[in-house]
């Protein structure tokens, strides 16, 4: 499947006299507990006046895929942070249960949902970039991505977006 590379959003920091600090967050994991901190940091970075870019690669694409963005899960297997014996995580339905538990906790703490976090981040000027290789590999096309995605880029573009700034890999 061929991917049409969208016009790359302006790479250069707009010259405003002073150099804007940059923050690049690379999200490579596709669970709610990975995506939420990524968006929280992005949003906060934007309020601190940083130019914030998010690059979604591998399972991180779940956060910008129309099909999965509303139903991101929390892993019950291979996640020793979950307060139960890890072997129980293999039982069918456990992922759903752990996800429900975490969503409940998030709601209680008035934490916004992932789609709401995306809207907030966009409102503050955060740029969302999808990884072209992952799209090719997974057979994802641009129309399957949420409209908030700015463009589809490669690693070189991604690195240039973070050049001289802070880079966080999740």
């Amino acid at each position: 499947m061929r991917i049409e590379l969208a016009q790359v959003t302006q790479l250069k920091t707009e010259a405003k006299g002073e150099q804007t600090e940059r923050l690049l967050i690379i999200l490579s994991k596709g669970t709610m507990d990975m995506a939420a901190p990524a968006f929280m940091i992005a949003t906060t970075g934007a309020t601190m006046g940083k130019e914030v870019h998010m690059f979604f690669t591998f399972w991180g694409m779940n956060a910008i895929n129309k099909k999965t963005v509303n139903s991101m899960k929390v892993a019950s297997v291979g996640n020793p942070g979950v307060p139960m014996p890890n072997i129980l995580g293999m039982i069918p339905g456990m992922t759903a249960m752990v996800t429900r538990m975490m969503n409940g906790k998030a709601k209680k703490a008035k934490m916004p949902s992932i789609p709401d976090m995306i809207k907030m981040a966009k409102d503050l000027g955060v740029k969302l970039h999808a990884c072209s290789t992952t799209m090719e590999m997974m057979g994802t096309t641009k129309d399957l991505l949420i409209p908030e995605v700015d463009d589809v880029v490669g690693a070189a573009t991604m690195l240039s977006l973070g050049e001289g700034g802070q880079i966080i890999f999740i």
Partner: protein, 82 residues
């Protein structure tokens, strides 16, 4: 151009990071130089976060007042980003 300085109260009580700072930022976006924003927060991280934000954005932290069960953080807008 309006020169009347405003005093806005932003109630972020009950929301946690990054809630208070984004609420503050939204108020900051619609404010003018000289305005004072008073942020009410229950998140214990808000004090340090707003202090860091003010320092970073060049705005002035006027006061942090501990009230019963929440904190009032008062910021004066002294720098606006274009």
């Amino acid at each position: 151009m309006s020169t009347v300085e405003q005093h806005k109260v932003v109630d972020s009580r009950g929301s946690f990071c990054p809630g208070p700072i984004t609420d503050l930022f939204k108020a900051y976006r619609s404010s003018q130089l000289g305005d004072v924003i008073e942020l009410l927060a229950t998140d214990p991280a808000a004090k340090a976060d707003v202090t860091a934000w003010a320092q970073k954005s060049g705005n002035q932290l006027l006061d942090i007042v501990d009230e019963q069960g929440y904190t009032r953080i008062i910021v004066k807008i002294t720098k606006k980003r274009s």
